[in-house]
């Protein structure tokens, strides 16, 4: 397109002789036609361990495959029909959604609060960063064990500090909440760092100008800080929703790979793995995994659509 117009221009007008650099640049872009070799190594791995399982999972979801893979029959939509009727599918999905609804607002609020405090203190910034972020570096299995211990009714730290005797882990009403608290403590550090980076990116002169115009601290916060954090907040919310819907590790470790009190903490991922590796129903497990994928994809595409419509709004 552009090359066509430039050759036309070159043949008709001949503004100047092409320099060596120009022709080299042309050769450079032409020589880079074979960039496929750069992408090849990644795509071999990606094809084997992402694309192939995706295709395979989709195929398996229409079969009655078991873990050993022999005697597989095509069963059409039977797995999906069964999933719709399966109470445990809806139950475990609801637990994951419930968990997401609790944990995402908590993380956003606490992370933002931490970031604002850490950003506005002058001393010990490194200390706050270390304290708030350190738990994020612990393995999920350790998180599960640690909070399993902290939530013990008679000799756990939580009840000791709060002066309670609540049996957090053995009653239905608090079982999932315990996982939420553990997750908040564990992962808030990452979002905190994202917010902190965004705060440090706001140009200082905006605040100085506002101060000269007589804006007080609250007004500066409302009209400068809040709008500048809009993008990062959207990103944090999206990342947390996607991660929270896939909750698995800390919940199963806290409840010793069981379903929790009155089956109140069995998460969706946990149920798919139980179907696949305990009941050996690989076909059925693949079908319900696909359901989770559809939900994740809807969230991801929804965010893209939101961003796009907002950009259009701005350009208008």
């Amino acid at each position: 397109m552009s090359s066509a117009t430039s050759t036309v221009a070159a043949t008709t007008l001949r503004p100047r002789a092409t320099t060596a650099a120009d022709s080299a640049r042309l050769r450079w872009s032409r020589r880079f036609q074979h960039g496929g070799w750069f992408v090849a190594p990644f795509f071999v791995l990606y094809g084997l361990f992402v694309l192939l399982p995706v295709v395979r999972g989709l195929y398996l979801s229409f079969t009655d495959a078991n873990i050993s893979g022999d005697h597989t029959n095509f069963v059409g939509l039977a797995n999906y029909r069964e999933a719709l009727k399966d109470d445990l599918v809806w139950n475990s999905l609801w637990h994951s959604v419930q968990f997401t609804l609790y944990v995402v607002p908590c993380i956003v609020v606490v992370a933002l609060l931490m970031a604002l405090i850490a950003h506005h203190t002058v001393h010990f910034k490194w200390l706050w960063r270390l304290c708030f972020f350190a738990p994020f570096l612990l393995p999920s299995a350790v998180i599960g064990n640690l909070w399993w211990w902290l939530f013990q009714p008679t000799n756990g730290m939580v009840n000791h500090v709060l002066g309670l005797t609540t049996p957090w882990l053995t009653q239905k009403s608090t079982a999932l909440l315990a996982v939420v608290v553990a997750t908040l403590w564990w992962t808030v550090g990452f979002s905190f760092l994202l917010f902190l980076a965004a705060l440090q990116n706001i140009p200082q002169h905006l605040y100085e100008a506002a101060e000269l115009d007589g804006a007080n601290a609250f007004q500066r916060m409302l009209h400068i800080t809040v709008p500048n954090l809009r993008n990062i907040t959207g990103l944090v919310i999206a990342l947390q929703i996607l991660a929270s819907l896939q909750v698995f590790d800390q919940a199963v470790v806290m409840y010793q790979f069981g379903p929790g009190p009155e089956e109140s903490t069995r998460t969706f991922v946990q149920y798919t793995l139980e179907q696949g590796f305990t009941s050996y129903r690989v076909g059925y497990a693949s079908a319900i995994s696909f359901v989770l994928f559809l939900i994740i994809a809807a969230v991801a595409l929804g965010r893209m659509w939101l961003l796009r419509s907002r950009e259009e709004g701005i350009s208008r």
Partner: protein, 285 residues
């Protein structure tokens, strides 16, 4: 760690009443956030009997028995080495393939590029949690169950890292590469001797995150191996909790041993990690 932007521009004492109040609040939050770890440390230094007695912070019979027992249980050093081997291999392979692919997408032309780009971006939505079962059967058919390769390779195709590096390479000014090309360098040489050294901040961010994710990865090793000799730190600790019966001090000691290496790494590489998070966050906006 120096922050170049002075938050206070008046050269007077920085300990204004507002600063003191903020620092006190930050300190209180930090204490709350550190309390669980302090409790774990305190528990690990108690005798099993004392740990289940009425809760208190300072161990009365201070003892290192639990730490010793955990180490003597035989498997911890072994799991530690497994974790290290797996995480180092994963990090190295990811850095290599993701930087090559990111550069390929950002700077080169080839047939089908846009299709491959779209397919890679779609991969952002497939996590091991969703792919668990079919990924396991795939690895099974490749004969990689209960092997190091089976643990390492499936963690080596992260679309997200390709995306981060792609964004970064796009932001590099083209003139440098063009100049190098005019001087007669081939594109592989340009990539390895010019582009990679320029991308140190991005590469270290990707490397650090990959290492953390791999070191802490629980789900995949849990699926792919039941062999205690192959287990990584998090898995060993999670599965063996049931084998021992519950001895809280040992459980906490084991957890701290699994968690400490990364916290030590963080203390040393704090600035890179913080910058890395910032970098990825800004790429994601």
């Amino acid at each position: 760690m120096t922050t170049p932007s002075p938050t206070l521009r008046k050269p007077r004492s920085t300990w204004t009443p507002a600063q003191i109040a903020l620092t006190v609040v930050a300190l209180a939050l930090s204490v709350i956030w550190m309390a669980p770890l302090a409790w774990a440390l305190s528990t690990s230094l108690k005798t099993p009997a004392e740990s289940v007695a009425s809760p208190h912070w300072i161990p009365k019979d201070f003892t290192l028995d639990s730490w010793r027992k955990v180490f003597e249980a035989g498997n911890i050093p072994n799991w530690f080495v497994n974790s290290l081997v797996v995480s180092v291999c994963v990090t190295f392979i990811v850095l290599l393939v993701a930087s090559l692919a990111g550069y390929g997408f950002a700077r080169t032309e080839f047939r089908g590029k846009s299709v491959l780009m779209a397919v890679t971006m779609a991969g952002l939505m497939f996590s091991p949690a969703i792919l668990g079962v079919p990924l396991f059967t795939t690895v099974q058919s490749l004969g990689m169950v209960d092997t190091y390769w089976g643990m390492i390779l499936p963690q080596c195709a992260p679309a997200a890292m390709v995306y981060i590096l792609y964004k970064f390479f796009q932001s590099l000014p083209r003139e440098l590469e063009e100049a190098a090309f005019i001087d007669g360098a081939g594109r592989w040489r340009i990539f390895f001797t010019l582009v990679l050294p320029l991308s140190k901040p991005s590469l270290s961010a990707v490397g650090i995150f990959t290492f953390i994710a791999s070191w802490n990865n629980f789900l995949w090793p849990y699926m792919v191996t039941n062999n205690p000799d192959l287990m990584t730190m998090p898995n060993g600790i999670a599965t063996v909790q049931n084998a021992f019966g519950i001895v809280w001090p040992q459980l906490m000691a084991g957890g701290l041993i699994a968690g400490l290496p990364l916290i030590v790494v963080f203390v040393f590489f704090q600035s890179q990690i913080v910058r890395g998070v910032a970098h990825t966050g800004l790429a994601g906006q």
